[in-house]
């Protein structure tokens, strides 16, 4: 079924992505302009507010896209990959913009975090916006808790990964000036892990809500399906990374690599599982 023509949410989606694209461009241009001078010299911060405005505009436009689609197809963005990506782009934008506003010191790390969102952005633009029937097992309030908690998890993970990426890039002499606005390495490391611990709490809560939902929907709270296995491995990887850091007093850069690995596993859980499992969750059938 060709739904390109009927999908009235697409203009909003494209506008939202254009807004994110502008924000990304402004951030990259902004940090690249911070050149020369000794560490601690005045840094370019002029880009921060315009970038913030474009992220917010992107969030608002994506909210419109989601609302438009919801009205058009009669159910929320929970079922197929197109919807999952679109709704993640929205929620990652909300959480990232909150962190960006609340913690000005981390803003330069947007140069890593925003391009990461673009993986989803490019992907969603390539998918057909087709509608999939809403499975009977999705009429359950735990779905909201499960999905909502997962969004917080991935959002905080994105902030942590942005900081971890900045910490690593900063080690490259040519790129070091880009990150003059960021606090010291020790502080970036501390902040990154703070967000990862927050992500861990939300991930744990997401697993609980998912198990309650699975018990109601499929009559078992855990059965090692593709998403359950993958999300358990994500949780264990994050718990393991937190432990490894405390046990071995990992060097900051090694810790940053751990964070990125956790992000990759989480990313594969969310967006890779559809490729090796016919249905994200069994209830789709």
């Amino acid at each position: 079924m060709n739904e390109w023509n009927t999908a009235t949410e697409l203009p909003w989606l494209w506008a939202g992505m254009a807004s994110y694209a502008l924000a990304t461009f402004i951030v990259i241009r902004g940090v690249v302009l911070t050149r020369g001078g000794a560490a601690g010299a005045a840094v370019n911060r002029g880009y921060e507010t315009p970038a913030f405005i474009f992220i917010l505009a992107g969030v608002a436009l994506l909210a419109m896209a989601l609302a438009e689609r919801w009205i058009r197809i009669g159910h929320g963005p929970f079922v197929n990959l197109f919807e999952l990506l679109m709704s993640q782009l929205f929620s990652l934008g909300v959480i990232y913009s909150f962190a960006y506003w609340r913690y000005p010191a981390i803003r330069a790390s947007a140069v890593v975090a925003l391009p990461l969102m673009w993986i989803l952005g490019v992907w969603v633009l390539m998918l057909e916006p087709s509608a999939t029937a809403f499975p009977p097992t999705y009429y359950n309030n735990w779905l909201w808790a499960h999905v909502g908690l997962g969004k917080f998890f991935l959002g905080f993970c994105l902030v942590g990964t942005g900081l971890a990426g900045a910490l690593l890039l900063r080690g490259v002499p040519r790129l070091e000036p880009w990150f003059r606005q960021l606090p010291s390495d020790a502080m970036v490391d501390h902040l990154a892990w703070r967000f990862m611990l927050l992500a861990f709490i939300f991930h744990s809560a997401m697993l609980i809500a998912g198990a309650v939902w699975a018990q109601d929907a499929w009559g078992r709270y855990w059965s090692w399906d593709a998403l359950e296995t993958s999300s358990f491995l994500t949780w264990l990887a994050l718990g393991g990374a937190i432990h490894a850091r405390l046990t071995y007093r990992l060097p900051m850069r090694a810790g940053a690599i751990f964070i990125i690995v956790v992000f990759i596993i989480a990313f594969l859980t969310y967006f890779g599982t559809p490729f090796y499992s016919s249905a994200a969750h069994k209830g789709v059938i």
Partner: protein, 342 residues
């Protein structure tokens, strides 16, 4: 005692245990027949011993209330899940409309060695059901009616389905995609008492093309039945599968004879008479029993709350002074700006 326990409490062992558990989890993906449950049990037991030793000996964990709560909850979840596996029951049953549940009809059942079955105590009677279908034959909500004793000698009507299992004595009955039709027949032999029963047809609409079954009456040759249904089923539009509204013509083949019966009609066959009373239905349920469910939930929630308290205590306080100064230097804004709490 600490000296004895300390080696077991090593945080390096925790990492080893976690890697083993990750391997076990990956091997358990899709519950393959070839993977033993020990790939999970061994790493979990290893981690449990390690954690218990750490809780007893390591002040970094046992002096911090929130962190301690989280780790004790982890232990609790592992222990409860183990008890759950030992006492659980999973089974299937197919119930014909207007008949009572019977524990003798369970199939595909698996139960833990400690499962003390209370199934014989369960009383409920299956009623009719409806299932919504969206265009393209996509199954929607199931509403299955059951009658349970109301405790005062009468019956209480309940509607279950999808996210609403029927819960009796801790046994949870979930409706499934497996449901269908069952013509109600009376066999009146030339000698002896008439008997009434159903012929259970394959699942509908999954085996819509194959609604047939056979039955061999006592003393007579085998009868082949084929059920021709009118349910309003359509690929193109939404429709509702409703056994009450469905019509079924029963095609009866016995030897060379072939007759089509409508409800209420009778046919003479070798050995007796067969009456097609009416069209009935059956619903397939999955049964799940695990006495630890609520405890697991409460324990896991406590764990998350504990970790939240730990997080709050660890980071809720102001940021380290050195780092704050560092931020100010880099950020060029005052401590009263919005960015105060890094």
């Amino acid at each position: 005692m600490n000296a004895v326990l300390s080696p077991f409490a090593s945080l390096r062992l925790t990492l080893v245990g976690m890697v083993l558990l990750a391997i076990g989890a990956a091997m358990s993906y899709g519950n393959p027949e070839t993977t033993s449950v020990w790939v999970l049990v061994v790493p979990m037991a290893f981690l449990a011993i390690n954690l218990l030793a750490a809780i007893i000996t390591n002040p970094r964990i046992n002096r911090r209330g929130g962190l301690l709560t989280f780790h004790i909850a982890l232990l609790g979840v592992v222990i409860l899940a183990a008890i759950g596996r030992l006492t659980h029951l999973e089974a299937h049953v197919e119930l014909v409309q207007d008949t009572a549940f019977s524990a003798d009809e369970l199939f595909d059942d698996s139960r833990g060695p400690w499962h003390a079955s209370d199934l014989d105590k369960l009383v409920f009677v299956q009623g009719p059901y409806t299932v919504d279908y969206a265009p393209g034959m996509v199954r929607g909500l199931t509403h299955s009616e059951v009658r349970v004793p109301d405790g005062q000698g009468g019956w209480e009507r309940r509607v279950v389905g999808d996210d609403r299992p029927l819960v009796l004595e801790g046994y949870r009955f979930y409706t499934s995609f497996n449901k269908g039709f069952a013509p109600l027949l009376t066999w009146m032999p030339e000698q002896g008492e008439p008997q009434t029963g159903v012929v259970h047809m394959p699942a509908y609409p999954l085996f819509e093309f194959k609604q047939d079954n056979t039955w061999k009456p006592p003393g007579g040759p085998e009868i082949k039945f084929w059920l021709r249904l009118e349910t309003g089923m359509t690929e193109k539009a939404a429709w509702i599968l409703d056994g009450q509204k469905a019509k079924g013509t029963l095609v009866v083949n016995s030897g060379a004879e072939r007759v089509e019966l409508q409800p209420g009609e009778t046919v003479n066959l070798p050995g007796g008479q067969l009456r097609y009373e009416r069209l009935s239905t059956w619903m397939g349920y999955k049964i799940f029993y695990d006495p630890t469910l609520q405890w697991l939930f409460v324990t896991a929630v406590f764990g998350v709350l504990g970790m939240s308290v730990h997080f709050w205590r660890k980071f809720g306080a102001r940021m380290p002074a050195a780092a704050a100064a560092d931020t100010l230097k880099a950020g060029n804004y005052s401590a009263t700006s919005k960015g105060r709490a890094i």
